[in-house]
């Protein structure tokens, strides 16, 4: 009973956070810090940062990963599920409605004209996101080379994206085994 009550409280918190956040994961994270670290002191800032580090390096959506880690930390598996469904529910409800409107209005003369304008802005939006991601991901020369190889493979050799990511994971594992092996040999020598 205690657990269910905790779970529902978590759901309500995350639902609220999910309602008012634009601009993706980092904005949501700032709200989590305000609500759980500063106001309610459920976790410390260090714990939240650890959750971010782990959530970021798991595949999938960063913020749902972090929500799951937080929910689990407070109220086990049920808490984790409550946090995830809480944070996604507003988005699912809103987008369901928006999708209906989109279908009804996309062929309207003025909506159509506005959408051509909006589409022109999507490439710069994605481009500026790529720039800020690139600052973090392309810090070292090998990373830049990996990026270039992947770009050429995807654009000119038509290698599918999923295959590219899988290739990257395989290379990473090979590299990890190799460097671990070498470290061990260095230790022995």
């Amino acid at each position: 009973m205690e657990r269910i009550k905790k779970g529902l409280t978590i759901f309500a918190f995350f639902f609220k956070i999910g309602c008012f956040t634009f601009g993706g994961g980092w904005a949501i994270l700032a709200q989590m810090e305000q609500e759980f670290v500063n106001k309610r002191q459920i976790i410390t800032k260090e714990e939240l940062l650890e959750m971010v580090a782990v959530g970021k390096s798991c595949p999938g959506i960063m913020i749902t990963n972090i929500s799951l880690l937080f929910g689990y930390h407070v109220a086990g598996v049920f808490g984790g599920l409550c946090a995830v469904f809480g944070i996604i529910s507003p988005a699912v409800i809103i987008l369901t409605i928006v999708a209906q409107f989109y279908n009804a209005f996309k062929n309207n003369y003025w909506v159509h004209a506005a959408l051509i304008g909006i589409r022109a802005a999507v490439v710069p939006i994605i481009g500026s996101a790529a720039l800020s991601l690139g600052k973090d991901a392309l810090k070292t020369p090998p990373a830049v080379v990996i990026c270039l190889i992947a770009f050429v493979l995807s654009l000119f050799a038509k290698v599918s994206n999923i295959l590219l990511v899988l290739l990257g994971v395989v290379c990473a594992l090979v590299w990890w085994f190799y460097s671990k092996d070498r470290q061990q040999k260095e230790k022995e020598a």
């Binding site: 999910g18 634009f22 601009g23 993706g24 650890e50 782990v54 390096s57 798991c58 595949p59 999938g60 959506i61 960063m62 913020i63 749902t64 799951l68 880690l69 689990y72 599920l81 995830v84 944070i87 996604i88 699912v92 809103i94 987008l95 369901t96 928006v98 999708a99 209906q100 989109y102 279908n103 004209a113 506005a114 051509i116 304008g117 589409r119 022109a120 802005a121 999507v122 490439v123 710069p124 994605i126 500026s128 996101a129 790529a130 991601l133 991901a137 392309l138 990373a143 990996i146 990026c147 992947a150 599918s160 999923i162 590219l164 990511v165 290739l167 994971v169 990473a172 594992l173 990890w176």
Partner: protein, 182 residues
């Protein structure tokens, strides 16, 4: 079974991306290979997902599922994209301490992140072809809007919703009012 296909597609997208814009290339690939969506729809979707609250990946999954197979479609798509959280992250949550500083995950991210950037660059190329070239050649107004918005985003740190709203207004002006006058 369109529901099963949607679920599997979004599960693949979830497991091979890291949220945000890194999902867009994978969504484009899955959508066009199933014939569910055109590149034009995808560009609209990115704008809509940026304008509405919530994580981009969830917004994209809901919208795509809705377009493809209605409300049940949107639910299975969202569950699909959440599969990494429910499986891998759940396991990690249970063994949290051991994963805190995992050398394997660090090495995987070192390789996968640059690949994600490359995929995003690929999408920029594809979308540019679709957006700035019409049947009559280069769409100069669209190129103009793009240049202006890039400037506002990078130099003046405009927020994405502000950029989308002003390009909607410019779109109405150039592609709505102007054809009426001529």
């Amino acid at each position: 079974m369109v529901y099963l296909q949607l679920f599997i597609s979004f599960m693949k997208i979830g497991f091979t991306s890291f949220g945000g814009m890194s999902m867009v290339p994978l969504i484009l690939e899955e959508m066009s290979s199933h014939g569910w969506m055109t590149a034009e729809d995808l560009a609209n979707l990115v704008a809509i997902a940026e304008m509405t609250p919530g994580p981009l990946g969830i917004n994209c999954a809901t919208f795509t599922g809705m377009q493809t197979a209605g409300l049940p479609g949107s639910i299975v798509a969202v569950l699909g994209v959440l599969m990494p959280a429910f499986t891998l992250t759940m396991v990690i949550a249970i063994f949290f301490e051991k994963f805190k500083d995992s050398a394997v995950m660090r090495s995987v991210m070192y390789f996968v992140k640059p690949i994600c950037i490359a995929m995003i660059l690929g999408v920029i190329v594809t979308l540019s072809r679709e957006t700035y070239f019409g049947e009559a050649g280069i769409l100069f107004f669209s190129v103009g809007i793009a240049g202006l918005m890039l400037y506002l985003l990078l130099r003046h740190k405009w927020s994405v919703p502000a950029v989308i709203l002003s390009s909607a207004a410019l779109g109405m002006l150039f592609y709505g009012v102007l054809p009426m006058l001529s």
